[in-house]
Amino acid sequence: MSPNVRLSRAVAGTAAAALLALISACGLSAEEPDAQAAPSTEPIVIGMSLPLSGPVADRAKPGMEGYQYWVDELNAQGGLLGRKVELKVLDDSFDQQTAINDYTRLISQDKVDLLLGTFSSDLNVAVAPVAERYKYAYVQPSGGADEIFARNFKYLFFAQPATTQKLPDRFVDLIAAMPAAERPKTLALVQLDDPNTTQAADLFGERLGKLGVKTVYDKTYAPDTANFDTIANAIKQAKPDLVINGSIAGDGVSLIRSFQKIGFSPQQLYQLNTPTDPGFPKAIGASNTEGIFTYLAWSPEATYPSNTGFVAGYTKQFGAAPSEDAANSYTAGQVLATAVKAVGKLDQTAIADWLHQNKVDTIVGPLGWDATGRPQGDMLLGQFQGGKIKIVGPESAATSKDILFVKPGWK
């Protein structure tokens, strides 16, 4: 190499290094002023990364609409701390690594004022440590698996009445209340590989086992499973009285369709998550939903103060009644807004402390949390009757006195 080339490379290299140093210095020094100055007319930005495309996109859409409705209602009532609220939404396609990168970016680069949580235990278990590391209050609407809460995080809060640990309670109580001779004798557990559903499956198997229900099939399937025929066939051969399907989204519908094709209808069918999707009755046939059990955090008929307004307002804005996913998002928004208003400033630690010490009135009732962010309430048991989900447990929230103990066959 000629000396001229060597020299010009050295100059270029030094210049590049100097430029990089300058840029990062600018980035670093910019942090100080933002924390001190409080531009009171600028909107408050709330950051989130949602699985808007990918395998659970159909459930993310009503969840997003729940957030949207919450923000629109909040702004119509004057915003938060006198400022308008904006949502900054990124799409992670249901990929954990993308979700982690998105939230890291929202916090450290975009410097959003607040965070709201993403959907599914699978994503929340990955994102919660990010929020905790940066000390941002993280209220999430849809990750109930125990492993999310097992790390003693101070900034994490779940916006449903109970975590996955208490999910099976109502249904197990129902089986326990049946005379031993009438209880289902055999159980098939089939679930998607997700922290929420696998934990629920273990709990069901264990607690129903104590009531004399024998598990004859227990398998977990990958999230990208498309063909359920062989799984449905294997379950049919095992002849279970009760099938508990830990589904997340479209997989639940695919499994039921495979059951229909294979010609197998269990005496009782309990499905997590999928039945609360608004498109469920259409996907499997409205008459086929009869008798299917599921769990819910929220009931449209509940008489909590903010609930009737929520149902009416949401129906008006979107032309259809809200679903469980929309309600969960709205609840998360309620929790965050109440805490911010109570604290009076955008101080993440103060917000987290306040939530640990106080209860929040929401559309699912009063919510309070323990030191690790676990809510202290109970879930509802629902059953499809006449094409709609009715609450059948607990009695205080029940919208139907009847319970179908035997599911009719497929039509």
Partner: protein
């Protein structure tokens, strides 16, 4: 015993669906040496078009698939003329990258047009089966299986029996010589590619009935299609049928007897296995490395 027989039946039927999806790809791959990674996206596009027409008119989706076929022929022709022909001249492998880009873009466009909700067409027979004693044969899969046989047969007849078929084989063996004997090579290549794309019409219709799909589903399908083609061997339609049967059986048997979680890894395990044992595929002939490249 019933479990085994039923599992084998389900596996073969699913294999039929895979054969249907892969036939066009195998042809284009084997005869033209073009790896069209947008094939999965075309199947999903055909599925959306089928679903869209079914949703509005209620016509049988598989019949709609027949109507969608010429539309997909046009899409294939367009894709060839605008993207593949240009990059294929520059570098053979570039067609793979370019079509992958088209696939990603197509996924995005489909999301914009039809949204990201899960879709599927549900004609009367979508969840019914023919019963033979204690065995069941799901109808939708059976119809797709029959369709696969018909399409594979038609493609085979095309390649062996028609002038176009001979022109295609000539062009892919030796471009320049084919041109010398009067074959319009460019036009022939475009037609072949378009025919490969046309098979996705019925394949997409079958997809819409048998499975649920979203715009991003093409990632799932291209993986399986590649497995089928690599297993069966380059340029062999019978190989594609065989590869599809093996894959379908492999997935079904793994799900029933090993573990459901491993079922989705089967295509990739099979690809690795066949590349280690017999890289040219089960029915693939060895590639000539001497002589003129097409």
């Amino acid at each position: 015993m019933t479990l085994l027989v039923q599992t084998v039946i389900l596996g073969l039927l699913v294999g039929g669906v895979y054969a249907l999806m892969s036939s066009g790809f195998s042809l284009v791959f084997g005869v033209m040496r073009i790896i069209n990674l947008a094939h999965g996206a075309m199947i999903v596009l055909a599925a959306f078009l089928t679903w869209w027409v079914w949703d509005r008119t209620g016509l049988d989706p598989l019949l709609i698939g027949v109507l969608v076929t010429p539309v997909m022929y046009g899409v294939g022709w367009l894709l060839y003329k605008t993207v593949v022909a240009r990059v294929h001249k520059a570098d053979h492998e570039l067609a793979m990258v370019a079509t992958f880009g088209v696939a990603i873009a197509a996924g995005g466009v489909m999301s914009l047009i039809w949204g990201t909700e899960v879709r599927s067409a549900t004609p009367g027979y979508f969840n019914t089966s023919i019963e033979l004693g204690s065995l069941v044969i799901p109808r939708a899969q059976l119809y797709a299986f029959v369709g696969a046989l018909a399409i594979l047969g038609a493609l085979y007849a095309l390649l062996r029996g028609t002038f176009l078929g001979r022109a295609i084989r000539a062009s892919s063996t030796n471009r320049d010589s084919a041109a010398l004997v009067g074959v319009d090579v460019e036009r022939t290549m475009a037609q072949m590619f378009a025919i490969g794309a046309a098979t996705t019409g019925f394949g997409g219709a079958a997809l819409s009935v048998i499975y649920q799909f979203v715009p991003d589903s093409h990632y799932v399908w291209i993986g399986r299609i590649l497995c089928v083609v690599i297993l069966g061997g380059l340029g062999s339609l019978l190989g594609a049928a065989l590869g599809a049967a093996i894959l379908g059986l492999g997935e079904a048997l793994t799900a029933s007897y090993i573990d459901t979680r491993w079922a989705t890894a089967v295509p990739y395990v099979l690809i690795i296995a066949i590349l280690l044992i017999r890289p040219q595929g089960i029915l693939g002939g060895r590639l000539r490395t001497d002589g003129v490249h097409p």
